[in-house]
Amino acid sequence: MANALNHLVEQVRENRVWRSIFRSGTGESNLHRALFVQQNVFLHLFSVKARKRTLEFSATWYLGALTFGTFLILVITGILLMLYYHPSVPQAYADMKDLQFVVSSGVFLRNLHRWSAHAMVFLVFAHMFKVFYRGAYRPPREFNWVIGVVLLLVTLLLSYTGYLLPWDQLAYWAVTVGSNIASAVPVMGSKIRFLMLGGTAVNANALLRFYVLHCVILPFAAVLFIAVHFWRIRKDGGIYAGEPATEVKSE
């Protein structure tokens, strides 16, 4: 059975059409494994080889990978939620009720999106502190640290814009509190607040703006910066491996 399955997999991978898409071909050699990464437009953000020490749990606690995992869950559940959501007042709230009582697994979908969002914010902070305490921000990785700070802000904005979308009391007043802070910016505070809300108070315009930011602009920015963040890991010499542990030879 297992043999037949392996045979089938091999046959598929040798197939002309398959080979036209994935050129790395069949085989178990390191060359094939390297090509698997290097010839894929998405995977080639990563290096072909990694230092063994950097893959141990203690090195990173996998916090970066986990953050990316929550992002993937949020994209999937977010797209599904968009199918049931209208960014208008008061329909947005009615859609929450529909998710609760009408849509199959609607409550589960919303729960998963909500808890994953909280997890992502927490994990981004944890990832930042872990990177700091290991000293992994130091040159040549300093610019990747800066991109990480940008991603932290994008994550906070994603979470904050998403907070308004259910259009319940919690959402409305949390965003009101936040937007009042924006008006404290010297000179152009009220202008910034107006730009942010599309009006002088949190209303239907604000909901639409937050929806567009949450579902289009900020995810796009996040994907872009995540790609650069991953690519820079490779360009900056792989994941930081800590201080050199082996012996020092001097001539």
Partner: protein
């Protein structure tokens, strides 16, 4: 120079794994081979497999959480009815707690702006890159600066009645003093660990403690009118 040759040739390579490297090292430099070739593994499958397992475990945990606990949903938004207290999302409650003490332009604009600026510039300061223990050099001078900064800062917090930020500051400062009073040559264990910590470590740790304390207070210990409440009495 008495030696007619101006360089030596060194071979340092495992030809089976990596192409042969020949380094020509001139006498004028002082080369050090700090690390030999490390053990490397293929990203596919090793690293991808580990990441996939980690993300899988996380996904299971989140699915279980989502099955057990429902996301909050209150009544329809009503601009006429302000809940008391009106709270921002939890990750902003540290800032909202500060908003209770400082004018909005300080708590809402100046402090977060400074935090973001500080985070960005961390890797661009040599003092952070070298990461030398704070008290290992210029101890007397640094102690004077430390004393002045901490006293002024604590006074500032006390004037604004920000006891919730003052207490963590004093605790972190106490650990810094403990590190300063530790002799690096004879120290062991925790105190040796402390004495090796650079300035950036102390600032970041202070930031982490403040972030944690302020967020926890804003989330759990603040009730109507931003007064103190106990979370189990709410």
């Amino acid at each position: 120079m008495s030696d007619p040759k101006d360089f030596v040739a060194v071979l340092d390579s495992d030809a089976r794994k990596t192409p042969r490297r020949i380094a020509f090292i001139t006498k004028r430099t002082s080369p050090q081979v700090r690390v030999k070739d490390e053990d490397r593994v293929m990203t596919y499958p090793e690293a991808f497999f580990r990441a996939a397992v980690a993300i899988g475990v996380l996904a299971i945990a989140l699915v279980v959480t989502s099955l057990l606990w429902n996301a909050p949903l209150e009544g329809l938004a009503n601009p006429m009815h302000t809940p008391n207290p009106a709270k921002a999302p939890w990750y902003f409650l540290g800032l909202q707690e500060l908003l209770h003490y400082f004018p909005p332009v300080v708590a809402g604009v100046l402090i977060p702006g400074l935090v973001v600026m500080a985070l960005i510039v961390i890797p661009y300061f040599n003092i952070n890159v070298e990461a030398e223990g704070l008290w290992l050099r210029d101890k007397a001078k640094r102690m004077r600066i430390f004393g002045v900064v901490v006293v002024i800062f604590c006074f500032f917090l006390a004037v604004f009645d920000v006891w919730v930020a003052l207490v963590p500051t004093i605790i972190v400062a106490a650990f810094m003093l403990l590190a300063a009073r530790t002799a690096p040559q004879t120290a062991q264990g925790f105190r040796l660990w402390l004495v090796q910590k650079p300035l950036s470590f102390w600032i970041m740790t202070w930031f982490l403690v403040e972030l944690f304390v302020l967020t926890a207070i804003g989330t759990f210990f603040r009730g109507p009118g931003w007064s103190w409440v106990l979370p189990w009495r709410a």
